[in-house]
């Protein structure tokens, strides 16, 4: 498993509090039995009219093509538990999400998929967003070890949930192997509950 603790990439800011998973990936894209085709559905109804004509959404602006860090506001990813949302974000090409706060199920889904969720307070985030908007071609760089994100010569602090940070630092963000290792203990618990 590769470590995802240091990354470089360009950013794009999608404004709004409470951006819900229905907006991130509309329900009609949930008609699938694999996650492979989800990329184009990302923010679909915010980006295109029903006719297919572009609404000129920030994700479709030439300056932000190829951006790898998605920056947004508070309570990002609220709503449904659909893993289709982080899957679409990842398939679209994003490697990390930066926001003031995240809805919990979304946050957990991102972590398991290896998408770091960086938490950044309002003021620092506004400054970062301003820099990104002025310099869309410049790469940001973040390091989960030092909890610093930098752009040009400016550096900002971010935070992470401690267990999530640990999981990335120890490359154990996908917990399955560890869960399986405890199979013996699990069967004891199951037996004690009468579920053997």
């Amino acid at each position: 498993m590769s470590t995802l603790t240091k990354m470089a990439g360009r950013g794009v800011y999608v404004q709004g509090n409470d951006i819900d998973t229905d907006r991130i990936i509309p329900a009609r894209y949930l008609k699938c039995v694999t996650f492979d085709e989800l990329g184009p559905g990302l923010f679909r109804d915010e980006r295109f009219h029903d006719s297919g004509e572009s609404k000129g959404h920030v994700l479709d602006m030439p300056a932000y093509q190829g951006a790898e860090f998605l920056i947004s506001d508070a309570n990002f990813g609220c709503g449904s538990s659909r893993e289709h949302a982080p899957q679409a974000i990842q398939k679209f090409g994003f490697k990390a999400v930066i926001a003031e706060s995240f809805a919990e199920i979304f946050h957990g889904n991102c972590t398991t998929l290896g998408i770091p969720c960086l938490i950044m307070a309002k003021e620092a985030r506004s400054e970062l967003v301003k820099l990104v908007q002025e310099n869309p071609q410049e790469e940001l760089f973040f390091d989960i070890e030092t909890l610093q994100i930098s752009l040009l010569n400016q550096s900002f602090e971010f935070t992470m949930k401690e267990s999530v940070r640990e999981a990335f630092l120890s490359s154990s963000y996908d917990p399955l192997d560890e869960l399986l290792r405890n199979a013996g203990a699990v069967s004891n618990v199951a037996a004690s509950l009468g579920y053997g």
Binding site: N17, D22, G79, E83, E104, T112
Partner: protein
């Protein structure tokens, strides 16, 4: 709890795992990619709800992708020895309606499902968690989940509710008060006189929408109401064994001297019939209020409110009562239980849905449908101008053919009013209680249930 993991998270044993066709088939693929099998197939149960049509459920379904999703799920279930509640089995329905009504949901259990409204099962004193597909994979493979510990906020609703005010109004009021992200990092424990005097169905409505308040889950401590509901359900122990189980279940409450990380007290008597005006469940007001004015706010709040008003095509300071509706939707895992239809039937008997309103009633499960038909409720609904449909999630998220068209306004008993939620990218949803949906359907506009049905205590 099994053990602590390297990351500091805890490994939680899952007593009951429910799966459905939208978020779970992919997990079986992930499992076989890793050469793994389902560890405890007897602890997992499957149903179809999201994509199932409510007019004609004959197989193969007309929608090829929907048919494929059901087939992949049912094949995976038979390959792995998982019980599948197929359409026409008498047990199919919305996953959060089926679990409780069969008695699969039992106090003290840890329950999960690849669906955020798993919080519904918390009504039975369960820790019930919505999870993503990779976690569905984890549970299938190991029957466990990696979890961070949660803080607990007790929400005491004291006093008593006025006529026309229902469980739905209580939870909309709570979310409005604490905010859509007020619950982040918390489990909500609901308590107090109002909650204690609620039926299990009402408690499920409350717990269902915990997730809409940002909480990871919500629960209510088990009591005699819980036990009475479970007695004689299909999947609970019988006879003496039930009494033993019941004794155990009743012991699963919070201790009288339990210390909570936070506590909120709400006066039940102050709660009015509540409706949403915006695009999150927290953007709610009482039916007698005016929609907010962005000019009175600042910063991002101002933008949020003005964007929401623009999307809903509402003016600042406009009364929400009187907003014309096009569609009335009764159903969903929030309010698609027998008691919801019984209550509404009592009000709409002998009345007529307004001419311009398309009104549908969608039972939450085959059992609800069967019982409602036995009581003749479907006839009352049809006589009033509602279509009585077959069970499923239907217009709650419109993954089946039931959708809003264009910018139609829907008075809905479901749980989410997100932009585009009901199948049209410009569709508008106004969340409310089932009796408020009935009032709106009859008046053709958002209306105060107390006035429409002469409940006396109006205003």
């Amino acid at each position: 709890m099994v053990s602590q993991l390297d990351s500091g998270q805890y490994q939680l044993f899952i007593g009951l795992h429910l799966i459905h066709e939208v978020t779970s088939p992919q997990a079986f693929g992930m499992l076989s990619d890793k050469g793994l099998r389902v560890a405890y197939p007897g602890r997992t149960f499957a149903t179809v709800d999201h994509i199932i049509p409510t007019t004609d459920q004959a197989r193969p379904l007309q929608d090829e992708m929907a048919e494929k999703m059901i087939t992949v799920l049912s094949d995976a279930c038979s390959d792995n020895g998982i019980e599948f509640f197929a359409p026409n089995s008498g047990r199919q329905g919305i996953v959060h309606v089926v679990g409780p009504e069969l008695g699969l949901t039992q106090p003290g259990m840890t329950i999960c499902c690849g669906d955020s409204h798993t919080s519904t099962h918390g009504a039975f004193g369960c820790i019930a968690l919505g999870i993503g597909t990779s976690q569905v994979r984890d549970v299938l493979a190991s029957q466990t989940l990696a979890m961070d510990p949660l803080k607990v906020r007790r929400i005491r609703v004291e006093g008593s509710l006025s006529p026309g005010v229902t469980a739905k109004d209580v939870i909309l009021h709570i979310i409005r008060t604490l905010g859509v992200n007020g619950g982040v990092g918390f489990a909500y424990e609901y308590a107090g006189k109002v909650i204690e005097s609620m039926t299990m169905e009402e408690r499920m409505t409350i717990c269902n929408m915990s997730i809409e308040g940002g909480a990871r889950c919500g629960y209510i401590c088990p009591d005699d109401v819980t036990i009475d509901y479970l007695r004689n359900r299909e999947r609970v122990p019988k006879g003496e064994e039930f009494d033993v189980a019941a004794g155990k279940w009743l012991s699963y409450g919070s201790d009288a001297d339990a210390v909570f990380d936070d506590e909120v007290v709400i006066d039940g008597g102050s709660i009015q019939p509540t409706v949403t005006w915006g695009v999150t469940p927290g953007q709610a007001i009482s039916v007698t209020e005016l929609v907010p004015d962005p000019e009175e706010l600042s910063g991002l709040d101002k933008n949020l409110v003005s964007d929401a008003l623009a999307y809903m095509q509402l003016q600042a300071n406009q009364p929400i009562a009187g907003v014309r509706i096009d569609v009335a939707f009764l159903g969903s895992c929030t309010n698609g239980r027998l008691s919801d239809f019984e209550e509404v039937a009592g009000y709409i008997k002998g009345r007529q849905v307004a001419d311009h309103v398309r009104a549908i009633a969608v039972p939450g499960s085959e059992q609800v449908d069967l019982e409602a038909r036995r009581l003749g409720l479907h006839e009352i609904f049809e006589a009033a101008g509602f279509e009585w449909r077959m069970p499923g999630c239907s217009m709650c998220l419109a993954m089946n053919p039931d959708k809003l068209v264009g910018d139609e306004v829907c008075a809905s008993s479901s749980n989410r009013n997100f932009i585009g939620r009901q199948g049209s990218s410009t569709g508008r949803t106004i969340l409310m209680s089932p009796v408020m949906v009935a009032a709106a359907a009859i008046e053709g506009q958002v209306s105060d249930v107390r006035t429409t049905f002469n409940l006396g205590a109006g205003k």
